[in-house]
């Protein structure tokens, strides 16, 4: 083939190339933007104007000494309040609060306690979230914005407390106060919908009604006169993995 033939062929290729690259770029652009445009039209997401103040910081004081091994009242209440129904698949079903049994390796002494989102002051889940869907309210409650969670699960990798669940399947019969959605991550909301109405979280309420007495105390960690602050000031308590310096809003006694 002569150099001229090559040139002719090149011209043809140039045309082919231009149209290929042009169409390719248009297609890639459309593929990126289209789902979002549709989504925004449907969801019409708008931030809720919450009257939240940083003067309060909500938290729990959990006394493991008062938490019976066989009691599951907090878990049941949480599931009911937030509409968490399992699919009989323990590995993928969501758990916002779970009972954990600790056995001392040296003494074999056993402790039972509820484990949940620790509502850290410096939450690693919020740090790593690429879109800012994981966020902390000024009153200390750590939440997931369901509208901008893309379901990457990096927060689940980062949480030292294994507090988060990914929604692995389609959810029906949701509780109106607690929106959830397949493909996003969720965790204990500290029953934010109840707290905003001036009520206490469902787990704490259920625990108070049990025979052993209230093992879960809810209150304002910033108010020195609240019961939780007074007890924290006068009794010893611990933070789970305090070495991470995350300043969790959930404190424990009896471990």
């Amino acid at each position: 083939m002569s150099e001229n033939d090559y040139r002719n062929k090149d011209n043809k290729f140039d045309e082919y190339r231009r149209s290929f690259l042009g169409k390719g770029a248009a297609l890639a652009g459309a593929a990126t933007l289209a789902p979002g445009v549709i989504l925004h039209t449907i969801a019409n997401a708008k931030p809720v104007d919450e009257p939240v103040t940083s003067k309060v910081r909500w938290g729990f004081l959990i006394d493991a000494n008062k938490c019976a091994d066989n009691c599951n009242a907090c878990v049941t209440a949480c599931n009911e309040e937030n509409g968490l129904t399992g699919f009989g698949r323990p590995k993928t079903d969501a758990q916002w609060i779970r009972k954990v049994t600790l056995r001392n390796k040296k003494t074999s002494h056993e402790i039972s306690l509820p484990m949940l989102c620790q509502h850290c002051a410096h939450p690693p889940c919020v740090d790593v979230c690429p879109t800012g869907a994981s966020f902390k309210r000024v009153d200390g409650i750590v939440l997931v914005d369901k509208h901008i969670c893309i379901g990457c699960r990096y927060c689940m990798m980062a949480c030292p407390y294994k507090a988060r669940s990914f929604i692995h399947e389609t959810i029906t019969d949701q509780v109106p106060d607690v929106p959830r959605g397949k493909g996003t991550v969720e965790s204990c909301t500290l029953c934010v919908h109840r707290v905003d109405r001036g009520e206490i979280p469902a787990c704490a309420e259920a625990c108070a009604k049990t025979e052993e007495g209230p093992a879960i105390l809810f209150g304002d960690l910033n108010n020195p006169d609240s019961e939780i602050s007074r007890r924290l000031a006068s009794e010893s308590s611990t933070q789970v993995r305090a070495d991470f310096n995350l300043d969790p809003g959930v404190r424990y006694q009896g471990i």
Binding site: Q95, I150, R153, G183
Partner: protein, 417 residues
């Protein structure tokens, strides 16, 4: 006579070419179907759970993303470090880098719980998140390498290729640092939380990226019957050997450092001496198949000048690299998190136990589909644009070599076309 470097599109009209494209097309369709099924049903149909939150798609995606930045190395050696021998390979290096990154990102995006929210990931940024930086780094990489290719392939702009190439080189180092830091910054998990993760990922990118480059280069030259001299094969073989050794060194240091600290003995025993798949993948997959044997092939004299052995070594490096990614990503999650040090922990949420994971066919399908998409992009690219020299005969790559045979090769190719 002076040997001239001619870049030309491959003819791409043989039965073999279309057969390979058709096969890749089938794999891509299967991958897309798998992704659709996963998204429609929800992730419960995969092997991923609330314990193993990142699975096989992430093994493929991180491998491809790491390899992408490494594939650009060949071009960097030429533009940044002035090694003329690599110049003819530069355009393919850039194309492969873009293709591998796009393939990896497709897997990552299609595995998201909400892939339809890609626009959200592009418009909402939390700048404290290493993931958010990575979104910028990946998009920037694609743009910079595209400009770099333009500078390389447009004669008028060749003079800028060093400047743009240097920028691309620095960008790719930052990018792989970012990818490694996805794991390095995770304080909660025993297997991660190590600064050495970032440099290890950079070295892995050198090795895995070059391995894929070797296979693509030799495959295309053999397929199109273009001449490929042993000078270039020999140079790539030695370079691959050095990269494999460097990865092995960094992984050794990572484990030695962990073994010194008592708090890490649990995870080290789990990975290095456990009764599980991770120990097997580490020693047999990464160390033996992915490092020791390729190292021998790349450094021993007996394998000199052999393209076939270089392809063999490169395939083994890729297999070992995938095994290592599996150990890092899945093994690191399978080992239970230390929730209450000093206590044995148990719960209905699988606290305190080794998490089990069996990759589903859908996850593997999605991963293979992304890989196939990357290769298909390269094969389409070399047909549409002039990425490849007509000849890589010794006299083309090495100016001190006799010139005649290269001219013959060009003439031969032109006669065939």
């Amino acid at each position: 006579m002076k040997s001239i470097l001619h870049y030309r599109e491959i003819p791409g009209n043989s039965v073999g070419y279309y057969a390979v494209l058709a096969l890749l097309g089938i794999l891509i369709v299967l991958g897309l179907s798998a992704a659709y099924y996963m998204e429609h049903q929800g992730h419960h149909v995969t092997g991923m759970t609330n314990q193993i939150v990142w699975g096989m798609p992430h093994v493929f995606a991180v491998f491809l993303i790491v390899a992408a930045s490494g594939a650009l190395n060949v071009a960097s050696i030429s533009s940044v470090f002035n090694k003329k021998m690599y110049k003819p390979l530069s355009p393919l290096s850039g194309l492969l880098a873009i293709a591998l990154l796009v393939g990896g990102l497709c897997i990552l995006v299609l595995d998201l719980g909400r892939p339809d929210r890609l626009i959200v990931a592009m418009t909402y940024y939390n700048f404290k998140s290493i993931f958010a930086w990575n979104i910028i780094l990946y998009n920037g990489f694609l743009a910079i390498v595209a400009v770099y290719l333009w500078m390389l392939m447009e004669k008028r702009f060749n003079k800028y290729s060093k400047t743009v190439g240097t920028f691309a080189f620095i960008w790719r180092l930052v990018l792989t640092t970012g990818t490694g830091s996805i794991f390095g910054f995770l304080v909660a998990r025993q297997a991660y939380d190590a600064a050495i993760m970032a440099p290890t990922f950079i070295l892995m990118s050198f090795s895995f990226g070059l391995a894929i480059f070797n296979i693509v280069l030799i495959g295309i030259y053999r397929g199109t019957e273009r001449p490929l001299g042993d000078t270039i094969v020999e140079r790539l073989r030695k370079l691959q050997g050095i990269f494999v050794a460097a990865v092995l060194f960094f992984v050794t240091i990572y484990h030695l450092t962990n073994l010194y600290a008592t708090e890490h003995h649990g995870i080290e025993k789990f990975i290095l001496d456990g009764n599980n798949v991770y120990t097997g993948l580490f020693w047999l997959g990464f160390v033996l198949i992915g490092s020791v044997i390729p190292l021998m092939i790349c450094l021993l004299k007996g394998f000199k000048n052999s393209a076939r052995w270089l392809v063999t070594a490169s395939l083994m490096v890729i297999a070992g690299g995938m095994a290592q990614m599996y150990v890092i990503i899945i093994g690191g999650q399978a080992y239970p998190m230390e929730l209450f040090p000093g206590y044995e922990v148990s719960s209905s949420f699988f606290d305190g136990v080794v998490a089990s994971y069996t990759p589903s066919i859908y996850e593997i399908g999605l991963g293979v589909g992304g890989f196939a998409f990357a290769i298909a992009m390269v094969l389409a690219g070399v047909k549409i644009l002039r990425f490849l020299p007509l000849s890589l005969e010794n006299s083309i790559v090495d100016p001190h070599h006799r010139a005649e045979e290269s001219e013959e090769a060009v003439a031969g190719e032109q006669a065939r076309a």
